[in-house]
Amino acid sequence: MTTAGRPARLVRSREEGRRARRDRLMRGLAMAAAFVGVVPLFAVLFFVTLNGLGALDIDLLTRPPRALGIGGGASSAILGSLQMVALAAVIAVPAGVLAGAYVSEFAGSRAAAAVRFAADVMVGIPSILIGVFVFTMLVLPFRQFNAFAGSVALAIIMVPVILRTTEEVLRLVPRGLREASLALGIPIWRTVLSVALRTALPGILTGVMLALARAAGETAPLLFTALGSRLVNVGDFTRPMDALPIFIYTNARQPYPALNEQAWGAAFLLLLFVLVTNVALRGRAMLRTLST
């Protein structure tokens, strides 16, 4: 019985109680899933830092691996990664940026969709197959594993990423800016280069750096191209070259704990570069969304 003038007390039927419980349960599960998803990141970070810091010393940074047995360092791998990723960037950045400019500035909608689609599919191709592909093109004919092939393989992985970011950032550049430039009689190519691409430069650089970070961590495309090496190779792209990911892979498979430890040290270096790049570039964007 309710008295007049006072609202009825809300009585929960059994059905409503069931619905409310189900709601709480599923929301709890969803929350648990999201937090479980973060656990591997911290687990990997924790163990790589723990084991990697212990292995990090001046020898690891400055000395090449011993030809046999244990000892030495990872300098061949560090130098190799720097050189191969740099050459890959020299190939991939102009190609990716200009192809991205085509999609955004010149292509009709169907051509743009086709290129975009192809780039997305390329991103999905397993990177080991890129390695096999480059092997058949640049290693098999010369019967020689070489660092140039490694760089080409890394470049093929970088191009679609750079293309897609360039194209997306260029679309954010206002039309009016281009029209103003054209109205001043500036030719189209200059407008695209000095107005559109210039305005989009920070975004393009972000994409390039993320692509670099990804390429620096790739192992599979290098296995059959640059091969890896125990020797320091500076500048000779016709011969095999070492790289940090290959160094980690081979040392992790060795039966000597000392070499396993070197793998952890190298993993720490690689992870440091990759994560600092990613956090610096994406973290800023995230913080901006947080503050709005």
């Binding site: 990997v44 010149f106 192809a118 890129i130 093109m137 990613n278």
Partner: protein, 302 residues
Amino acid sequence: MLDLAFPWTTRVLAFIGVGLLGLIGLLLALNARLAFETFGLGFVTGTTWDPVRDVYGALPYVAGTLASSFLALLIAAPVGVLAAVYVAELAPRRVGVALAFLIELLAAIPSVVIGLWGVFVLSPFLRATVESWIVDTLGWIPLFRGPAFGIGLFAAGVILAIMILPTIVSISREVIVAVPRSQREAMLALGATRWEVVSGAVLPYARSGIIGAVILGLGRALGETMAVTMVIGNAQAIPDSLFDQAQTIASKIATTFNEASVGLQTSSLIALGFVLLVITVVLNMLARLLVARLATVSERLP
């Protein structure tokens, strides 16, 4: 002059990119031809891989690939979709954005680093906890027969689940965010709880996109190489138990390609790669179409 040359340069570069996709398929097919001509369809169903007798069959690796990827989906699909729902729909905005960022950061970790962690940390942990528990309680079922070494199919599945989780979460999140507000409001106006809004309005609307996200995750799992190679044990046989050591197409190529003699053996490995390429490209196209369709549909709606 340049006004003509510049657009053409960019166009040529763009279509070199597209052409590369075809060239990859073409070159792999050409180099795989010898193996396909020698073994025919038997290549895919053959179970021996014997360099001494020069007989090559892909079935153990196809089986290992499918088994490990399926296991990864079994773990990562429910966790990933639920996590995406939380991050996009239920969490306070800041918490959601931060969690999504951290989960996506996981995708940036190089595969070989995850593999290193998998060998020395995750596998021993799994052996001591989950695996020994399953073997003790369910070991009488052939699928769960021990002994569990840590290294093997199960560890590979778990590692893959971790690696494809960011893909599933971030793409599911995008499609969930793209669901129009009106869909949710209609449900809420009927007195639905928040979970009922999710399960009754948001998920059905986003379904094709979420399926696309899961398929993209599957594509990544099938082709993932280094971390799997390091934890799956690289055994030659078709696995009978969840804890057997096995081999995937990608890990087979990674571990034996360099030692293979040029000729039928290399051709057979490239044929393995060609099979993998066809599967992943088809899956990727399918997934992209599913995700893209949803995006265009929701652009047309208010």
